[in-house]
C-alpha cells in the first residue's frame, strides 16, 4: 500500500469529526501502526481495484469486513488502540491527557439531600429473610 493509500485507509476507519476529533491520518501513532503492520489484509485492500475510487472505498472495506471478519477486526483494533490513547483525541473527547495516577480524580461526595433519603430507608422494616 502506498503512503497515500494508508492515509486514505486510516481516515475511512477513523474519520474524526468537525468538533475536533482528528482523522486517523493525523494521529502519528495510528500511521506508525499502519506503516509497521504486517497484516496481509492491508495489502489486499490496497490491491483492490475499487480502492482507487473515493466513492467505492467504503464498499471495499465493507466487503473486506464480510470476507475476512477476524483479520479485519484485528486491523481496526490495532488502530483504535493508538488512536484513543493519543492526546489530541482524548482532549477532543473532553478527557485529560494525563494517566489516572498519580493524581487520581476528584469525585463528588454523597449529596447532602441523600442523608435524609438514607434515614428513610434505614427506618424501613428489614428486607432480608
Amino acid at each position: 500500500m502506498t503512503p497515500v493509500q494508508l492515509r486514505q485507509l486510516a481516515d475511512l476507519l477513523l474519520p474524526g469529526d468537525e468538533a475536533g476529533l482528528p482523522p486517523g491520518s493525523r494521529v502519528p501513532d495510528v500511521m506508525l501502526a499502519l506503516t509497521e503492520s504486517t497484516a496481509p489484509i492491508i495489502a489486499q485492500i490496497g490491491r483492490h481495484p475499487d480502492f482507487a475510487y473515493p466513492e467505492k472505498r467504503q464498499a471495499v472495506l465493507d466487503d473486506m469486513e464480510r470476507s475476512h471478519g477476524q483479520e479485519f477486526r484485528d486491523l481496526v483494533l490495532s488502530l483504535i488502540k493508538p488512536y484513543y490513547e493519543a492526546g489530541p483525541v482524548l482532549e477532543a473527547m473532553g478527557w485529560r491527557t494525563a494517566p489516572p495516577q498519580p493524581t487520581g480524580h476528584e469525585l463528588a461526595p454523597m449529596a447532602a439531600d441523600l442523608t435524609q433519603a438514607l434515614a428513610e430507608i434505614a427506618a424501613r422494616k428489614r428486607i432480608w429473610r
Binding site: Q101, A117, R129
Partner: protein, 527 residues
C-alpha cells in the same frame, strides 16, 4: 523427572488468594507450632509494573492486564499472574482471575457484600437447590473478623442485612453518577445503600485513601484497595507462615486414601515433593477442580455445578455530563430491593443491582458495533462522560452440566488442560431479564435519554464457585461441612469451590469468612 524430597511440613496450602491467605493466617494464629507452607503459582504483584501511571493504561485493560487469563497469555509478558489457558468455547461467560499472590483480589473491584441469611437456606425457604451446612449466623463471627482484616468502607443501618459491626471507614465518594442514581432509587421507593467496599475511603491500616483514579481492575498502585497480598499475607508471614512463589502444584500425592504431600515445580521447573500431614487447596473454582481432578481425587460432583452469577449491564445515556471512568469501578451504591424471592415474578430467588462506572474510552470504543467509520465515533461522542451503567447479577443455582473438566492436552505448567462448560438456565435468564427491566426503570427515573442493554455480559466471570461443594452425601457433594474431601479426608478446600449455592452477591467476603471458619475448626483437629 527426578523429584527432590523436602523436609516434611504440617500443612501445605495451595494458592495465596482470598481463601488461602485467610486460612493460613487463622490456622497459624490458632496453632502457632504448625509448620505451614503456601505454594503459589504466581509471584507478588508489583505496583511499579501496574499501568495506571502510564498512557497505555487503557490498552492494558484489554491486553497484558486484562482480567481474562487467555487475553493476558495472548498479550504475552508476565506481570505476576502465572496463567494457564482455559478452554472457554463452551461457556457463555469468560473466566476472570489473577494467578499470583493475592489471587483475584489483586484485580478485583473490591465490592464486598455478604450473602443474605436466606442464601444459606434456599432449600428450606424456597425449595430449590440445597441449604448450606451452616447458616449466616454461624458464619457471622468470621464475617466480622474478615471485615476487620480487610478493612471495610460502608455505612451502618442497611435494612438489607442483619445489623453488622460498625464499618471501619465511611462510604466511598459517590460522584455525580451515584448521587443521581440514588435519587432515582428513592423516587421509585426502592432500597439503595452505599456498598460495603474493601477500599480505603480514608487512610487506614497504614494505607492511603483511594484517589478515585479509575482502573481498579489493573491493580491498585496507591494500595488503597485491599487485596490479600496487602492485608493477610504480611500478617501471616510475620507469624511464620512460609510463602513460596512461582511454585506450581502439579499433583497431590495420595496413598491409601490419604494425601501424603504435594509435588510442585519451582521457577526452574525442577520438581519437589513436599510431604505434609494435610493439604489445603484454594485455587478458585477452576484451579482447585483442575488440580484435584489431575491428582485423581474421585468424587462424582468434583468439577460440576460451576456457578458464576450470570451478569448483564444496562447503560443509560444522559444529556448532562457525568463522571466518566473515574472512581472505584464497582463500589458506590447497590440495591437489594429485589434480592429475596417473590414468586409473583415467576422465578425463585432474586437479583443484585449495582451501580457501576463508565468504561475507559478505548475499552468502550473497542466494544462498539460497527467498530469503524463515522457511526461509532458519533456514538462515543454522545456516550462518553454521559453514561450511567447498572450491573445486574442474578443468582445461579447448581446444575451438574455446568462444569470444569480436564482436556487431553498437557499445558506448559505441567498440568492437564482445563475447559469450562456453562450455559445460563431458563430461571437465571428470567431473573436477568427481570433485573434489566428494573434497572431500566431506574435509568429512566434518573433522566436517561436512552438505554443500551448488554445481556449477557461475557467478560464478567469473576465468581468461580461451586465446583467442590460442601454437603453431607459423598454422591452429591465433594467435601463435608469442614471442607474435608469425602474421598480424601486430609485434603481440605478453602475457596469458593465449596459454595453449595451462591446468592446473587459478590462472594469474596464469604470466601474469606468461610476460610477463617474452616481454619479455626481445623486448628482444633490438628493441634
Amino acid at each position: 523427572m527426578t523429584r527432590k524430597r523436602q523436609d516434611p511440613v504440617d500443612v501445605v496450602i495451595i494458592g495465596a488468594g482470598c481463601g488461602g491467605a485467610a486460612f493460613a493466617w487463622q490456622l497459624k494464629r490458632r496453632a502457632p507450632h504448625l509448620k505451614i507452607v503456601c505454594l503459589e503459582r504466581g509471584g507478588w504483584p508489583d505496583p511499579l509494573r501496574m499501568p495506571a501511571k502510564t498512557m497505555r493504561w487503557q490498552r492494558a485493560i484489554m491486553e497484558d492486564w486484562a482480567s481474562n487469563p487467555n487475553l493476558r497469555i495472548k498479550a504475552g509478558g508476565y506481570r505476576g499472574s502465572n496463567d494457564y489457558p482455559i478452554d472457554e468455547d463452551g461457556s457463555v461467560f469468560k473466566s476472570l482471575m489473577w494467578n499470583g499472590v493475592g489471587g483475584s483480589t489483586v484485580a478485583w473491584a473490591a465490592h464486598f457484600p455478604r450473602l443474605h441469611p436466606s442464601d444459606f437456606r434456599v432449600r428450606s425457604l424456597d425449595g430449590v437447590a440445597d441449604d448450606w451446612p451452616f447458616d449466616y449466623f454461624d458464619l457471622e463471627p468470621w464475617y466480622d473478623l474478615n471485615d476487620e482484616i480487610m478493612g471495610v468502607a460502608g455505612l451502618d443501618g442497611d435494612p438489607a442485612y442483619p445489623p453488622k459491626r460498625r464499618r471501619a471507614m465511611p462510604p466511598l465518594a459517590f460522584g455525580a453518577v451515584a448521587n443521581r442514581a440514588a435519587r432515582a432509587f428513592s423516587d421509585l421507593g426502592w432500597h439503595w445503600w452505599p456498598v460495603d467496599a474493601a477500599i480505603n475511603s480514608v487512610r487506614h491500616d497504614g494505607r492511603d485513601a483511594c484517589n478515585h483514579c479509575g482502573p481498579c481492575l489493573t491493580g491498585c498502585i496507591s494500595k488503597a484497595k485491599s487485596s490479600v497480598d496487602l492485608t493477610y499475607w504480611p500478617k501471616s508471614i510475620a507469624l511464620g507462615v512460609e510463602l513460596r512463589t512461582i511454585a506450581i502444584a502439579r499433583n497431590i500425592e495420595i496413598e491409601a486414601g490419604r494425601a501424603t504431600g504435594v509435588t510442585y515445580a519451582d521457577r526452574n521447573d525442577e520438581e519437589h515433593f513436599l510431604p505434609a500431614q494435610a493439604v489445603v487447596v484454594a485455587g478458585n473454582g477452576i484451579g482447585t477442580a483442575r488440580l484435584l481432578l489431575a491428582s485423581g481425587v474421585e468424587s462424582p460432583m468434583l468439577g460440576r455445578n460451576l456457578m458464576f452469577h450470570p451478569a448483564a449491564y444496562i447503560r443509560g445515556i444522559f444529556k448532562e455530563r457525568l463522571d466518566g471512568p473515574v472512581g472505584p469501578v464497582g463500589a458506590s451504591i447497590y440495591s437489594h430491593q429485589f434480592y429475596e424471592t417473590d414468586r409473583a415474578r415467576g422465578f425463585e430467588r432474586g437479583v443484585h443491582l449495582q451501580l457501576s462506572r463508565e468504561n475507559a474510552l478505548l475499552v468502550q470504543a473497542s466494544r462498539l458495533s460497527p467498530l469503524w467509520g463515522e457511526a461509532p465515533q458519533a456514538q462515543l461522542r454522545e456516550e462518553f462522560l454521559h453514561t450511567m451503567p447498572i450491573l445486574v447479577l442474578a443468582e445461579d443455582l447448581p446444575e451438574a452440566h455446568n462444569r470444569v473438566s480436564l482436556t487431553n492436552a498437557e499445558e506448559r505448567d505441567g498440568l492437564p488442560g482445563v475447559k469450562i462448560d456453562y450455559r445460563i438456565s431458563e430461571r437465571a435468564q428470567k431473573s436477568l431479564d427481570f433485573g434489566l427491566a428494573r434497572a431500566e426503570e431506574i435509568l429512566k427515573a434518573a433522566g436517561a435519554s436512552r438505554t443500551v442493554r448488554v445481556s449477557p455480559a461475557p467478560l464478567t466471570g469473576w465468581h468461580l464457585l461451586g465446583t467442590a461443594r460442601m454437603g453431607r452425601d459423598p454422591q452429591t457433594s465433594v467435601t463435608d461441612r469442614y471442607g474435608r474431601c469425602h474421598a480424601v479426608p486430609n485434603i481440605l478446600i478453602a475457596d469458593g469451590s465449596l459454595f453449595p449455592t451462591v446468592g446473587a452477591a459478590n462472594p469474596a467476603s464469604t470466601i474469606g469468612a468461610v476460610a477463617l471458619k474452616l481454619a479455626d475448626q481445623f486448628a482444633g483437629e490438628i493441634a
